[in-house]
């Protein structure tokens, strides 16, 4: 076990080194991400935590090649499974994005094309990346929908996004992200729009599906990050203020900003989980 962990450490799935992202040009240019470095090994869950505007989503978009127009990586390296992705041709990069990186977003209703069935969206992705026949791809998609524990996948495959509940759509989104066996899953605020019970089920699903993959979870919610992440990186105004194991960040935060975030996330306090008086 420790040997695999060590070899995983030596060969991280994702390495980000000195990443900077620039928005706009000339005097009006801003730097949403500045000199950011981290790695994620296989089987590891890293949480990037910060407020809106901290640059955490821009980091996810840079990794997934989804930066909006006028925003670009201005410095640094992104290395996925040993390949520096920023130097790939656009065609190579596209093949990589749907294949080795799976993306999950906050609102699957706006991420899915409303006039296409869930099945047709997933089948197209499976066919493009796995060279499958339509019927083989359909079988694979039904399997994937069952894998994220969606009820009646053989019926849901022909449903439209609006016919699913928010939690079901997020499950379908995760099925799409995992469909082509990516080595890295990037989830950007995947449970922010969901209620507590559905959120917990989706987090459990993400954690389980991470398995031997690397999972990058972007969230504003330290409590959510603490539930599933092995390590946490705290961002403020485009920079990393600290990173470390989840226990270290929560128990002995080194930076004032992290302490502020911890203080802001005080609730829930009740329900048999009160801190034990005098606990060591």
């Amino acid at each position: 076990m420790s040997i695999t962990t060590q070899s995983a450490r030596r060969n991280p799935v994702l390495e980000v080194e000195g990443l900077s992202v620039r928005a706009g040009s000339g005097e009006l240019a801003t730097m949403p991400v500045q000199d950011l470095s981290f790695t994620i090994a296989s089987g590891e869950v890293l949480g990037i935590v910060g407020e809106s505007g901290s640059g955490k989503s821009m980091t996810a978009y840079a990794i997934g090649d989804l930066l909006p127009e006028g925003v670009a990586v201005s410095a640094g390296r992104i290395v996925l499974e040993g390949r520096p992705v920023l130097s790939l041709s656009p065609a190579e990069r596209r093949a990589l994005d749907g294949n080795r990186i799976g993306m999950v977003f906050q609102d699957p209703l706006s991420s899915f094309n409303p006039v296409r069935t869930i099945g047709s969206i997933l089948i197209e992705s499976a066919r493009r990346h796995q060279q499958l026949s339509t019927s083989a791809a359909r079988g694979k998609v039904i399997e994937a929908l069952a894998g994220v524990r969606l009820p009646h996948p053989e019926l849901l495959v022909d449903a439209y996004p609006h016919q699913l509940s928010g939690g079901q759509r997020q499950r379908a989104m995760i099925a799409l992200a995992l469909l082509n066996e990516p080595s890295l899953v990037v989830a950007d605020e995947p449970t922010t729009a969901l209620d507590a019970t559905v959120q917990l089920r989706i987090l459990a699903l993400l954690k389980r599906s991470a398995g031997s993959r690397a999972l990058l979870l972007i969230t504003h919610d330290l409590a959510v990050a603490s539930t599933v992440c092995d390590r946490i990186l705290v961002m403020q105004r485009g920079r990393c203020v600290e990173q470390g194991s989840t226990a270290d960040i929560l128990e002995s935060p080194a930076h004032d900003y992290t302490r502020e975030l911890l203080a802001a996330a005080h609730w829930p306090a009740a329900l048999g989980s009160q801190p034990q008086a005098g606990a060591a």
């Binding site: 407020e51 809106s52 969901l194 917990l200 089920r201 539930t227 009740a270």
Partner: protein
């Protein structure tokens, strides 16, 4: 307090038809709301909270039960009175993009309801529009802008200003924070609180975000599978929940001190998901450690303690955990 509620809902049921299927989205719901009070309606998506709100606003018809506003039965008053009562109930929706006409300027969007109710001449309307913008803390110069030139938070402020134009006594806000950026959510939540207090408006606040509910609401009603399972003051329901579902919902909130994904809890939630809707039995019986013969008949909403408005749909009245075998 000895006063009549602004809104009373008694045994309300709503049946929806979707794709040839008939779904009872809301079953036998009873709640009340006083003037100047915020009642939060919480529960997972699909629990019926939006349908209940739409029935109260008159957007969808209800097939059973009574709806009283200012102690008047909606169904019993003449249509003209009903229309004027409806005007006193305004809604704010989740997505301001879907509720603001993108072709119109902000000034037109806010003047329109004023014209409809015959508020006054052009200069009176212009003054009132400026007043409404000030109420939601927006600059008066925004009147010449169109919705797409505004941020998400600004658009939601416009939607609130438009609802306030009708001088509502009841504001129904359906997930008004969910489409907003996290930092914007806090400012819009405090705006709601300020306006609601200052104007003494009753507010039905629908939200999946229990932290926002705690910040904003005086009382809470918890919905699950079309029924209200528990209701009471924010403190009573969120700190001393009496119903097994409320306990499950609160236990599901991520907690930094636990820092683990409680697999037993996930399992309990998973098993709770699809509910048999026909049976009279309590839905939570299979997982409840307190279950007894009596639970083959689901409980009515009843007082948790002798002297309070904390009600739960459960036969039992003790503080022991009722769900979660962990």
């Amino acid at each position: 307090m000895n006063r009549d509620p602004l809104l009373e809902v008694r045994g309300l049921s709503v049946t929806l038809q979707a794709g040839g299927r008939v779904v009872q989205a809301v079953r036998d719901c009873t709640l009340h709301l006083y003037a100047g009070e915020v009642l939060a309606l919480v529960g997972e998506s699909g629990s019926g909270k939006t349908t209940l709100a739409r029935a109260i606003a008159g957007i969808v018809p209800f097939d059973k039960g009574e709806l009283l506003f200012r102690s008047l039965q909606f169904r019993a008053v003449p249509p003209a009175i009903r229309r004027s009562l409806r005007r006193r109930i305004q809604m704010v929706f989740q997505d301001p993009d879907a509720s603001l006409n993108p072709m119109h300027r902000i000034g037109t969007i806010l003047a329109e309801p004023l014209t409809v109710i015959g508020f006054g001449d052009r200069s009176a309307i212009r003054d009132r529009v400026a007043e409404l913008l000030a109420m939601v803390r927006l600059d008066a110069t925004l009147i010449d802008k169109r919705p797409r030139q505004l941020s998400g938070g600004e658009k939601q402020r416009i939607a609130i200003a438009r609802a306030l134009a009708m001088e509502p006594e009841l504001l129904i806000a359906d997930e008004p924070l969910s489409s907003l950026d996290v930092s914007t959510q806090a400012t819009i939540a405090s705006l709601f609180r300020d306006l609601q207090r200052r104007l003494n408006i009753g507010m039905l606040f629908i939200s999946h975000d229990l932290a926002a509910v705690r910040q904003l609401a005086d009382r809470v009603a918890v919905m699950h599978a079309g029924e209200i399972v528990e209701t009471g003051s924010c403190g009573a329901v969120l700190d001393t929940p009496a119903h097994p579902y409320t306990r499950l919902l609160l236990a599901a909130m991520p907690d930094m001190r636990r820092r683990v994904l409680d697999v037993h809890l996930v399992d309990a939630i998973d098993r709770l998901a699809p509910l048999p809707h026909q049976s009279r039995a309590c839905h939570y019986r299979p997982q409840c450690i307190r279950r007894a013969e009596i639970c083959v008949n689901s409980a009515e909403l009843a007082r948790v303690a002798a002297d309070c408005d904390h009600l739960a749909r459960c036969h039992f009245r003790d503080e022991r955990p009722l769900l979660n075998p962990a």
